[in-house]
Subunit: 219 residues, 2 copies
DNA sequence: ATAAAAGTTTAGGTTTGTCTAAATTAAATT
DNA sequence: AATTTAATTTAGACAAACCTAAACTTTTAT
């Protein structure tokens, strides 16, 4: 089997590559994993020997078919555990990521299967991220970044693309969660921030940084 | 915090010492952990430096107060996860141990607390082993080994002291589980095996090996 | 086209947890 | 009490996963 370290590299490559599309750089990985580039080079040589990645020295790395299968399995487990923590153990969405980072490495096919059943085959995790199916498919959803809405346009929050507690707690404070109704009240061209009304109620100004991390569907 | 390897040593010392009472030998540990005695010596030096054990070279090892606290926390997590797997995910009692061995190392106080609540503060795990409380107490239950019963005496199975799938599957086959009513029909002095009737029904002969691993309370 | 800068890899270490083989200590036998 | 045997520890290695410093490619700027 694969070690926890290997699994974390595979997951990081998957995420940085934009679901397997592009090649990923050594420094990109070292940033994401909080290791040094030298350590990444070592690991890439190893993953390459195991045929989990295509690795061309100095030119980046991509997952093989097998590597992608492995990545999706880990992500499936991570997101199922997040659902479990929120729905069954009353965790909040800002408390789950760190724990799921540990649980995703527990090895048992039966466990994942049964957990999925127990949760009623959920489609998305508490942050709105889709859960890969047992067959290894990752359902795509049509959705747009909040940043792309024009004045007057409405949307319902379906996904947030950052699981850091600090970010999620900020959303808690302004009153944004999955399912929240938003409408763009005004646009501030100076810095591309938007004034957003929340649940047809009070409005806040969100920075373009934040706007890029929130996704909505048409209401 | 403590590594998975350290936690496994602490748990092994706890179990071999009979709940902290006696000193434990290097070979005893190497047997239980499937490592070589030399590796055990190394680890004991390390645990001793961390004040988790009292270690006197050539004379065995015992857990410190702190070591016992750590041991009971790990055992608490192990047994709570076993309950979860059986009661919520429909695992059988012979399927849970291996998975719980992994889950017991997940670090999150909140997780243990919430899991305990979710399960309704269970007292015993699927093998009848008591679950240490949050305060670190291990409730003792009066119970006797099946081996100690005389002819005609009855008992209700409350605990089995071996979690190997092969053993538990053997019990499944003869029809013994937690709560099963047993009565000693006859004693075979030659090898100390007993003929046991199961649920007032068909009877089987159990070896003294097996009899030592099954515990009963008075019906 | 060359030189500087940025990104990446290699060389050589460290820590953790394991191993084998040799040395040491304790226990059991004579 | 001396000797043999068994248990345990130490010495020296190794793999995994990380590090720093130095060397090497690739990219960017002059
Ligand atoms: Mn997450
Ligand atoms: Mn998530
Ligand atoms: Mn168990
Ligand atoms: Mn158990």
């Amino acid at each position: 089997m694969h070690s926890t370290a290997e699994e974390n590299y595979i997951k990081a490559i998957y995420k940085l590559s934009g679901n397997g599309a592009n090649a990923v750089s050594t420094t990109g990985l070292s940033d994401m994993l909080a290791t040094k580039p030298a350590s990444v080079s070592d690991m890439l040589r190893k993953l390459s020997a195991k045929d989990l990645v295509h690795y061309v020295k100095y030119h980046g790395v991509q997952l093989t078919e097998e590597g992608q299968r492995v990545a999706l399995k880990i992500i499936r487990k991570h997101r199922l555990w997040e659902v479990f923590l929120v729905q069954k153990l009353n965790f909040t969405w800002d408390e789950v990521h760190e724990v799921a980072e540990q649980m995703e490495h527990v090895k048992s096919e039966l466990l994942v299967q049964r957990l999925d059943e127990f949760l009623g085959h959920p489609r998305v995790d508490p942050h709105g991220d889709p859960i890969p199916t047992e067959a290894g498919e990752l359902p795509e959803m049509e959705q747009r970044a909040l940043a792309s809405l024009e004045v007057e346009q409405k949307g319902v929050v379906c996904r947030v693309k950052d699981s850091q507690p600090a970010f999620l707690q900020y959303l808690n404070r302004v009153g944004i969660q999955i399912g929240t109704q938003l409408q763009v009240v005004d646009k501030i061209p100076y810095d591309n921030s938007l004034e957003i009304s929340i649940n047809k109620n009070k409005s806040v100004i969100l920075s373009s940084d934040v706007l890029e991390k929130i996704f909505v569907i048409n209401p």
